[in-house]
């Protein structure tokens, strides 16, 4: 077998296609930050434990630090730079501003990408560990939001306002859906 330690890939990020050759060891996180200059996605633990690197892959939230870039070819990546609708902020972004859902801001882009997906998961009636009866659709509640956002750590401890912001955005989504 011919040895190929790097691979030419095309990555589709926020609706744009980028062609690049990556060392196979490159994570999606490093490709976004170091190669495509999309530095909104943050590197926290680099071990899948903190959620700062959360992006959407085919619309679903993932830890980009554990996702190899080469394995993301052909899939649609959305980063925090791509969640707004032009100049109009995503409702989750607006809720973080309105309710002061951050302190230092380092975890915020991961929190926002995660929350965008949480609202989508609730709309699909996915259960969570906080769902009383997994046979029934989940309610939108602070308890559900806390559980669903548990993969996003905030060292400042801004959780109180993060939970309020995500809950408000989720409830607004329910009303307008």
């Amino acid at each position: 077998m011919t040895s190929t330690k790097s691979t030419a890939i095309s990555l589709r990020v926020n609706g744009e296609t980028h062609s690049l050759t990556v060392d196979n060891r490159t994570t999606l996180l490093d490709a976004l930050r170091e190669r495509l200059d999309l530095i909104g996605t943050k590197k926290g633990c680099d071990q899948g434990q903190c959620g700062a690197c959360t992006v959407l892959l085919d619309g679903r939230r993932v830890n980009s630090c554990l996702q190899l870039a080469v394995a993301a070819e052909g899939r649609e990546v959305t980063t925090v730079e791509g969640v707004a609708d032009g100049e109009r902020l995503h409702p989750v972004q607006q809720a973080f501003l309105d309710l002061d859902g951050y302190q230092c801001g380092y975890c915020t882009s991961g929190q926002i990408c995660s929350a965008v997906a949480v609202i989508e998961e609730l709309a699909r009636e996915w259960p969570s560990a906080a769902t009383e009866d997994v046979r029934r659709p989940p309610e939108v509640s602070e308890e559900e939001i806390r559980e669903r956002m548990s993969g996003n750590l905030c060292r400042c401890g801004a959780y109180v306002n993060i939970v309020r912001a995500v809950t408000q955005a989720a409830k607004n989504e329910q009303v307008t859906a």
């Binding site: 899948g48 892959l57 997994v134």
Partner: protein, 329 residues
């Protein structure tokens, strides 16, 4: 991280062919455990064969009601599947008790079965570990082992299997479906994880180069009334200190069918057959549930710093079975 080749397989047969004759190759599913271990240098593959895109990402329902779950289905999709939520709720609960929303979106069923222990010494290359480096010794036996095994361990390794999903699968008599160059085969989950013995580095009965293609859950009416409960050091997003998957069917106060499996107590999900035997045909009372737990835990050999797991599991048995019985009234 060591440099590696990357290949994407179009189907399961091609995946097996790409891996054959490549002892340093690994299948790549969601990568949540493998990529992490490659970063720390515990895993050093020369080739990754990406199986994430294989068309094995659905649940099939057989005429007799058995479910066959494709190996590349994500943990999220499986937990959200209506057949799982309604007919095997403990499996949905177990999946949802594991990891985070992000990780469950990446992690596959096949990869979940093959995830490695979270024993801190396993990932600490500066310390002996028989699982990582056979013959080097076990640092946990007399070290930090408050969350290690109380059942089935040997002096060669006291690590636990970290999977929540596998605990529910063990309770429901799952069968692992595999593909090798010779053809397909089935391995009951009860035989899938090997006893520790003096070979803790050999964790499963999976033949060399075999690909897990799916898991079959036999139809079981008892499973519709089941729970997974997990005790951990944080409210969410943490590995278990102890967990239980249980299902109970009671008629006129008598136990007719019961399934019990424990997590975080052994190198594999621990099917509590002694406890089940003690309960079948007897009364469904808290006293009987406690006696059944004691029958199973008679074999427990706690380490210096994890004796708490014995009463923890005993309490989980009593409270979970009591809850299941009360829900049925």
């Amino acid at each position: 991280m060591r440099e590696f080749d990357y290949r994407r397989a179009a189907d399961a047969h091609e995946a097996v062919a790409l891996l054959s004759g490549e002892p340093e190759a690994r299948f790549l599913g969601g990568g949540t455990n493998l990529v992490d271990l490659m970063k720390t240098g515990v895993e050093n593959p020369a080739l990754l064969v990406d199986v994430r895109g294989l068309p094995l990402d659905r649940v099939e329902v057989a005429d007799d009601g058995a479910l066959t779950i494709g190996a590349t289905m994500t943990n999220s999709d499986l937990a959200a599947h209506p057949e799982v939520r309604h007919r095997y709720p403990a499996l949905a609960e177990a999946l949802l008790a594991g990891a985070s929303g992000q990780l469950r979106n990446m992690a596959t069923v096949g990869g979940n079965l093959l995830q490695r222990t979270r024993c801190g010494y396993f990932t600490d290359l500066s310390r002996p570990c028989n699982k990582r480096e056979p013959g080097s010794g076990c640092s946990a036996l007399d070290g930090e082992h408050h969350n290690h095994a109380i059942l089935g361990w040997s002096e060669h390794c006291v690590a636990t299997n970290p999977s929540d999903m596998a605990v529910a699968l063990a309770a429901f008599d799952a069968v692992v479906r595999v593909l090798t160059a010779e053809g397909s085969a089935e391995i009951p989950l009860a035989e899938f994880y090997l006893p520790v013995g003096d070979t803790p580095h050999r964790e499963t009965a999976l033949p060399d180069g075999a690909l897990i293609t799916g898991v079959t859950l036999p139809a079981a009416t008892v499973a519709a009334r089941s729970r997974y409960r997990k005790v951990r050091e944080r409210a969410s997003y943490a590995f278990a200190n102890g967990s239980i998957a249980a299902a109970l069917h009671v008629e006129d106060g008598t136990v007719r069918d019961v399934r019990i499996a424990f997590g975080a107590v052994a190198s594999r999900p621990w099917r509590a057959r002694e406890a089940e035997r003690a309960l079948i045909g007897g009364p469904a009372t808290p006293e009987a549930f406690a006696a059944a737990a004691d029958a199973e835990l008679a074999a427990a050999r706690p380490l210096a710093h994890n004796g708490y797991k014995v009463p923890l599991i005993r309490n989980l048995v009593v409270s979970t079975l009591t809850e299941l019985q009360e829900a049925a009234r």
